[in-house]
Symmetry: C2
Subunit: 226 residues, 2 copies
DNA sequence: TTAGCCAATATTGTTGACAATATGATCGCT
DNA sequence: AGCGATCATATTGTCAACAATATTGGCTAA
């Protein structure tokens, strides 16, 4: 189960994907100190590719490595998670502004269709979890790529989202407010459709700020523990 | 020339540093396809640590790797360089705002002293190049760390700065305007000293925006070619 | 009893050899 | 003569053994 992609898929890539999803899904607990050979047997890998993957993961900030002492998954504190949302706020605001300037009409139409799908899922109620977990990231993913800013998309999709998703899985109890979030999404897309970059940036920043405050409040109320 | 740091320094770290500085200084030209064994002989390394370093560099976006085809240094177009400045604008704006809220009085005093040093260097005229190359990054570096936002500092210092510095070296003819930049720096520090985060963010964004427009203009005038 | 030191051990870092694959040139065919 | 396929080569990907080092447990001494 490897040669599915047209481009050749090396063992190191496989190791990287396995470890990344394992960390994101919480199968490797934060703060857990884990040995290389244990990881090898667990994912049927050999140490060479594994070490290369570990280097990449470390450079992405998902784990830390002390020489001769082993690797351990990063444990992000509540305050650090809030800092991630501050970064998302400004970066996704920029992405929304540039997306308003550069997305094609077709992409915008697809984005609106995506929101329709999300709405149906929310109406069918059982889709709440899906909406929060996947739908939300689908929306933000499209805007990041729509910005046509390669490095921006790379940083958002490659670095930040995995850190945030890691905690979305952990505090799996959906953070609520799907209807309100959908409304915010709709207004952002409207601004993009009207090519109003300034408004799109403002709305996106406020949207992420609201999500941050929502999580912050739940943490303070003790509903979520990190 | 290796065991200088208190923490143990592995060959992979050495390889990573060597390659990174080589790329930044332009010793490895962008677009250049380079073999692993050539890199090994050039930096007195063996392939294991080298490959680990290559993985890290790739994940940071400084080079691309195609399986069985070799690595090549990324070549950033002029428009992509401008996109990097857009990202810097929002991220460093956030850094300035958080620095205004969180830097200690001592750190702010040090920052002001740093600017005095820069001013002396500019007055002594020959320091122009230094100021632009190192002094500017010293200033931005201090603010990034002063934000107390670990991930933000990591992304700015680890990813963006190396990409930008890479082109600062290339278009080595100092991009000019040191006096104006120094004045902008001073005003940013004043806002931080007054704990006015909103103003600090505004001034920082305008500062970076000005730097971007300056480069953009020089490129259009043909003074700089990328 | 506890604190500090030392050694054994297990883990990581490194190395060199082996296997798989993309590239480039040569040869044959149209 | 131009184009395509095939094969040799060189480079990368992978593996397993060796060396170096941090940790852990035990021991000694205060």
């Amino acid at each position: 189960m490897a040669e599915l992609l047209s481009t050749t898929y090396t063992r190191a890539d496989e190791a990287f994907d396995c470890l990344q999803t394992a960390i994101v899904k919480g199968e490797l607990a934060p703060g857990e100190k884990i040995g290389e050979l244990e990881l090898c047997s667990r994912f049927n890998l050999t140490r060479g590719p594994l070490r290369e993957a570990l280097g990449r993961l470390e450079s992405r900030g998902l784990l830390v490595r002390r020489p001769h002492a082993g690797v351990k998954v990063v444990s992000v504190s509540a305050s650090e998670l809030m800092e991630l949302y501050r970064i998302r706020e400004v970066m996704e605001g920029l992405a929304a502004r540039q997306a308003a300037e550069r997305m094609t009409d077709q992409e915008i139409a697809d984005l609106q269709a995506t929101l329709d799908t999300h709405e149906r899922m929310i109406d069918e109620a059982q889709g709440q979890a899906y909406y929060q977990a996947e739908g939300d990231y689908d929306f933000h993913h499209r805007i990041a790529t729509g910005s046509r800013n390669t490095k921006l998309a790379q940083m958002l999709l490659g670095d930040l989202y995995y850190m945030v998703r890691m905690y979305r899985y952990r505090l799996s109890t959906s953070t609520g407010r799907p209807q309100r979030a959908l409304g915010e999404h709709r207004r952002i897309v409207e601004a993009i459709a009207q090519r109003d970059g300034e408004l799109a940036e403002f709305l996106m920043k406020r949207h992420i700020n609201a999500a941050r405050q929502n999580i912050e409040r739940k943490i303070e109320e003790g509903e979520l523990t990190i």
